[in-house]
């Protein structure tokens, strides 16, 4: 196997950054790993203790409560009920606020039930269900009495109509209520809030808050004014996500500007891309073709675009060496984009007359139909160099093994982590994950593009910092919970899962 090399040896050492790291990774790792291991082990032990203690506490509490049970006065209705549209949401959510009556005896109110009014459609649907149930019950009764089926159906339908009459056209329908949620009661005098979601943003709803005691006695306040859960101007819960995006995008753009200012940007050598010339040269010497697969996904997948970007560079080399390239594609749009990329590359190399449009062809969308064609083509035509650059799935191993069997030099690049092991095992060179996305910048050598890789590494440094801080916080929380450091990790989690 020519120059066979995987990225394994280099990967774990240089995996943190493609560009030269500013902080020695070894020092950080040597401090971080033992601390993390200690923290995790302690956290496990502490978690077991806490779970056991919690179970004991709740069992003791339940026994105490049942021992103290005595007849309770009826609950008082909640006071100061207000409703408002939940701001900065995607719509369909309403904020319901009320106050626990200050004069309510302790324990008289077990929970608060929040009810909302039904929409006309819901009311109609409920009427239909009730009418159907009434019809079925009456039909069964009449059939047991021996009434003829047709007559029974007619009588049952009339009975159902009487029992569940349709609303009078033009007359206002009485409000009907649905339980939206139930929340445990707070202490007397406390302000309580809850969000009712899954509402129709186009509909208006009224709300009613009802106090409920332990024996299910209820006392309700008057219905609120009508309110609509309209979408806000911005999704407030994603503000942190926007912050992350702006930070990372800002660093990418910042380093692009720095690169434009003339500062040299160096990235480490990528063996797979250094071997492109060698592979194409080998194909030229052997008089065989170069096979390039830009993945099996469509142009909406960024891996396909990255693959076509690499294709344009490889096609330029092929044109310069006067070799032949074949690009079978699994999507029509990808075929079009690939064809234009290859044609432009031939034009750049000054070999437009050598360009054959049929060398870039559409095969089929069907995954295994495509790989059957490519596999057969490889066995018959025996290309000397095979490039797999894009999004691949289960067919990756079939392609790589077939290429291996014909003795071709194989260079692969994908961001599908599930397929990386197959490419690494069977190909001569593999671009793993982000290396594949850096390929375009690497091959172009343009400062703008190299600067974007450096900016991307800032994002990676941020991710590492967040992991270290959150892990340390959790470890410290497990050891000394009274310090309250766990809120740091909880805050980080809330921003990341927004």
């Amino acid at each position: 196997m020519i120059g066979r090399r995987t990225s394994w040896s280099g990967t774990w050492r240089g995996a943190v950054a493609i560009a030269r790291p500013t902080v020695p990774a070894a020092i950080v790792l040597n401090l971080f790993i033992p601390l993390l291991a200690f923290g995790v082990a302690t956290a496990h032990a502490k978690a077991r203790e806490v779970a056991h203690a919690t179970a004991q506490d709740s069992a003791a509490g339940a026994a105490e409560r049942s021992a103290r049970s005595a007849p309770m006065p009826p609950p008082l209705a909640p006071v100061d009920v207000r409703v408002a549209d939940l701001p900065l949401d995607e719509g369909g959510a309403v904020l319901v606020m009320w106050k626990v009556p200050p004069e309510a005896p302790a324990g008289s109110i077990a929970s608060f039930v929040i009810r909302r009014s039904m929409t006309q459609a819901e009311a109609a649907s409920q009427r239909l269900e009730r009418r159907k149930a009434s019809f079925e019950a009456e039909l069964k009764r009449l059939e047991t009495q021996g009434v003829a089926p047709e007559q029974a159906r007619t009588q049952a339908a009339a009975h159902a109509q009487r029992e569940v009459p349709s609303p009078v056209p033009g007359a206002p329908e009485p409000l009907q209520w649905i339980d939206a949620s139930e929340v445990p009661a707070a202490a007397p005098g406390a302000e309580m809030t809850t969000v009712v979601s899954s509402l129709d943003p186009a509909q208006e709803y009224q709300f009613m808050v009802v106090s409920r005691s332990a024996d299910a006695t209820e006392a309700g306040a008057a219905p609120s004014a009508a309110v609509r859960g309209e979408p806000g101007l911005f999704l407030g819960k994603r503000i942190y996500l926007l912050g992350w995006i702006l930070f990372i995008s800002g660093s990418v753009i910042g380093f692009i500007l720095v690169a434009r200012g003339g500062r040299p940007m160096r990235i480490r050598r990528l063996a797979a891309l250094e071997a492109v010339d060698e592979a194409v040269g080998r194909a030229t010497e052997m008089g065989r073709s170069v096979l390039f697969l830009p993945g099996i996904q469509d142009m909406d997948n960024v891996q396909t675009i990255a693959g076509i970007t690499v294709l344009s560079r490889v096609a330029k080399t092929v044109a310069e060496y006067d070799a032949t390239i074949e690009v079978p594609t699994a999507r029509s749009l990808t075929m079009q984009a690939s064809r234009e990329a290859v044609q432009a590359s031939y034009m750049q190399a000054g070999r437009l007359e050598s360009f054959n449009p049929d060398s870039v062809s559409y095969i089929t969308d069907e995954q295994f139909g495509f790989v059957a064609y490519v596999g057969g083509r490889m066995v018959r035509e025996k290309p000397a160099a095979c490039f797999y650059m894009g999004c691949f799935f289960a067919e990756s191993l079939i392609l790589a093994e077939t290429g291996n069997s014909i003795g071709a030099i194989q260079i692969a690049g994908t961001a599908e982590s599930s397929q990386l092991p197959f490419f690494v095992a069977a190909c001569d060179y593999t671009l793993i994950g982000e290396e594949f996305f850096a390929a375009s910048a690497y091959l172009s050598g343009e400062p703008d593009q190299l600067g974007s890789i450096k900016g991307q590494d800032v994002g990676k440094a941020l991710a590492i910092a967040v992991i270290v801080v959150a892990s340390l916080a959790l470890a410290v929380q497990a050891i000394v919970p009274q310090w309250g450091i766990g809120s740091v990790a909880a805050f980080i989690r809330s921003t990341l899962t927004s």
Binding site: S197, D300, C391, A394, T497
Partner: protein, 294 residues
């Protein structure tokens, strides 16, 4: 001998693998399956849903992955039918409708004829658009799937009356073979809802190759993960035990033992793989010692 092994034609290996798969199938070799905690968690997540829950079943796979995912899809549909949940079938793969139709025919129509289409289950078919479909379903499910596979508008289907968004489902069960699939469901539908008062529960069944990709999401975003035919066999065993508990002495049909049946060749094939790796290394080191590395 060493020379022969160093230049071994790969077709001998293919033959060995073929026999490793064929012989256990022909001899009907079966081995007991003990469920792991992950499979038990997936089972419990589905089993503990309230009666009459609405369950969204996304069958995002095709005939190529049917041998690995088909048995788990069968067990999932059977479990939901046994528990009396209302099942909503969808798919984002072009060949998915056939997979759904097969499972409905094999399980629901065959063994649960009392379940009425439109009241207890509905097949909403395929929608093109990948993640765009998921995002749209999150905000307006009926607009995303406007009619069922019979062409009936969802407004006329009784069990669709209460559905507006994916939040109206109690659980999402995604059986996926690739893209779009379990990972996209987690990214676009499950994770954004994770902070809500009643988060959408999610159980994903996937191929073996996809399982490592989905483990980072368990148990934070996923409530259950059924990985590969092994996971399918464990889940199938749990469902069969559940049936046995409810109706002791029930004979389990063969179609509900497919995953366990397919674990026979899995075992032999894996042992063969281990043997081949060991043999390959023995040949390599022997050759290195003699200075004749291939």
């Amino acid at each position: 001998m060493l020379r022969f092994l160093q230049t071994l034609d790969r077709r001998w290996i293919f033959l060995a693998m073929g026999l490793a798969v064929a012989v256990p199938i022909l001899l009907q070799m079966r081995f007991p399956e003990k469920a792991t905690p992950i499979a038990e968690k997936a089972f419990a997540t589905i089993n503990d849903l309230p009666d009459g829950s609405r369950v969204l079943l996304a069958f995002d796979f095709d005939p190529a992955s049917e041998p690995e995912l088909g048995p788990m899809a069968t067990s999932l549909v059977r479990h939901c039918a046994l528990r009396g949940y209302r099942m909503y079938f969808i798919t984002l793969w072009p060949f998915g409708p056939q997979m759904i139709a097969d499972k409905i025919r094999e399980v629901i129509r065959a063994d649960f004829p009392q379940l009425v289409e439109g009241e207890h289950w509905v097949n909403l078919g395929f929608q093109a658009g990948n993640e765009a479909v998921m995002q749209q379903a999150k905000s307006d499910f009926k607009r995303t799937f406007p009619r069922d596979d019979r062409g009936i508008a969802v407004g006329q289907i009784p069990m669709m009356a209460e559905i507006r968004t994916t939040r109206d489902f109690a659980c999402l069960i995604a059986v996926s073979a690739g893209y779009p699939g379990g990972k996209e469901w987690v990214q676009y539908v499950v994770t954004p809802e994770r902070g809500s008062a009643v988060p959408l529960r999610a159980v994903v069944g996937c191929t073996g190759v996809q399982t490592p990709q989905l483990f980072p999401y368990y148990p934070g975003q996923l409530d259950g993960l059924i990985g590969a035919i092994k996971g399918a066999a464990e889940y199938e065993t749990l469902v069969n035990e559940f049936v046995e508990e409810r109706s002791p002495g029930t004979t389990i049909p063969e179609k509900y033992q497919e995953a366990v049946r397919r674990m026979g060749p899995q075992l032999v094939a894996h042992v063969l793989m281990v043997s081949l790796i060991v043999l390959g290394n023995v040949i390599y080191f022997a050759g290195r010692r003699r200075g004749t590395v291939a």
